[in-house]
């Protein structure tokens, strides 16, 4: 991995990913189906992968919000039937100021707690495998030998563990303000 890529990845881990729960909550309480939320998030990360200079981005959270908003706008524009609703929907979306302020960016300690909490939700073997890799630096082969299972089991459990961790971190803590305010939009119209 190139150094620039490494920097980008760590920047995203520290400054973008922690805001994923906020973005997801906002998307899903506004107008988008679960599957569409996942698509939008993946697409947003793709846009992030094209970022040339992270130094130029003062507010990663706001930047992330902006990308998602633009993607959503593009998507709504394509779905012509809901054009009127859509513009209303965009008005309804929180702007940058609802994004967390820099002071609310998670501290390393909070992130650590978050990771620990996510790890605690894993089935024991998944957890053990990720720990053996991350903490002890063991290879898949060594892990398989130590656990007395096949390498494909290790691989499957590791991948499953990652999925659960990402799910847990993507949801984040239960949002107190998840109540959607008025101006209902028919979600079914937005499905393609």
């Amino acid at each position: 991995m190139s150094l620039d890529r490494l920097k980008l990845v760590h920047w995203i881990a520290a400054h973008v990913m922690p805001h994923e729960p906020t973005v997801r909550a906002w998307l899903s309480r506004s107008l988008v189906s679960k599957a569409d939320v996942d698509d939008l998030i993946q697409e947003a990360y793709c846009r992030l992968s094209a970022v040339q200079s992270i130094e130029a981005i003062a507010r990663p959270d706001g930047y992330f919000f902006q990308i998602v908003r633009n993607l959503l706008r593009e998507q709504l524009r394509r779905a012509q039937l809901v054009r009127i609703d859509a513009s209303a929907a965009l008005e309804d979306l929180p702007m940058g100021d609802e994004a967390p302020s820099p002071e609310r960016v998670t501290s390393a300690r909070e992130e650590w707690t978050r990771v620990q909490a996510a790890m605690a939700t894993l089935p024991p073997r998944c957890r053990q495998i990720l720990q053996m890799r991350k903490i002890d630096g063991l290879s898949q082969r060594d892990i398989a030998a130590r656990l007395g299972v096949s390498e494909s089991i290790v691989e499957n459990d590791a991948v499953k563990g990652m999925r659960l961790i990402m799910q847990h971190m993507g949801q984040g803590p239960k949002h107190p303000r998840s109540q959607r305010k008025g101006g209902g939009i028919d979600r079914s119209k937005l499905r393609r």
């Binding site: 400054h15 996942d38 691989e155």
Partner: protein, 317 residues
Amino acid sequence: MTDRNSAADIENAANRWLWLRESGDWTPEQAEALEVWLADSSAHEGAFLRAEAAWATLDRLAWDGAAISNVTRLPSRRRRIIAGLTVAAAAVIAAFVLIPRGERYVSPEMEVRAVALRDGSAATLNTATDLRAEMGDHQRQVRLKSGEAFFRVRHDKARPFVVAAGPLRVRAVGTAFSVAYTNESPRVVVTEGVVEVWSQDHPQQRTRLVAGQVAALSDGVTAVETLTPNDPAERRLAWRQGRIDLGGETLKEAVERFNRYNRVKLVVADTRLNEERLYGGFDMHDPASFARTAGTVLTVPVEASADEIRIGTHTGP
């Protein structure tokens, strides 16, 4: 955003690719296949970047997990008096000089530099660092002549990565750690994986260090310290992000640290303040903001001139 596969399927595939790459035996053929997969769709690219970021987040597990498993009880949470938060980017321009055997990398005073080593490993050089890297067929050797460097070592079982700093030797296969050689006793901080440490004079006496441990070599003896979540390895390596992270250092120490990175020098005018302990994270290139915060916390005046910032008022003769 319409793909043949669902987002969940893509996410799974991305995670599998990532695990394959990170789990030990990654071949050039696999790397090529991954490139093809990534080029296939923007969703693939996005999902893979997200997987990489999640994987990077799990790094935290390494240093803290190891620290916790070595202490019986968590110390009570220290309160941070000063809450500072800054992210400054390290300069990414390498001073790179080709010498007959291996390459030499230097960072000038007051600058932090990131360099890519020829074997694919990455090094971040703290201020005034001088190192030489020689990537051989059987061993990758780095000699740290002075300063401090953080290494993210590319996994390569066949070629161990050995760093020499004075009499200290540190051996890794694929992991992340820093080595400092700024005074008489060289030391190492491990943030990921495992390294082996020994003294040149006693190559048989090797000590294994895991993430979250620090070792210093003095008179041929390796002293190992295990860090706690309140004093994580990351704090000691905050310079990589252009930060100075204080966890109870004295004002005197803090000022010395800032002065390593700035032309505008901090001066403690009232020497009685020297032993005051401070907490918080600061932009290493913003001594003024640190001085203001320190002035507020210690309730002393701060005065800035063109080339120095004085904390406190001079008292006594």
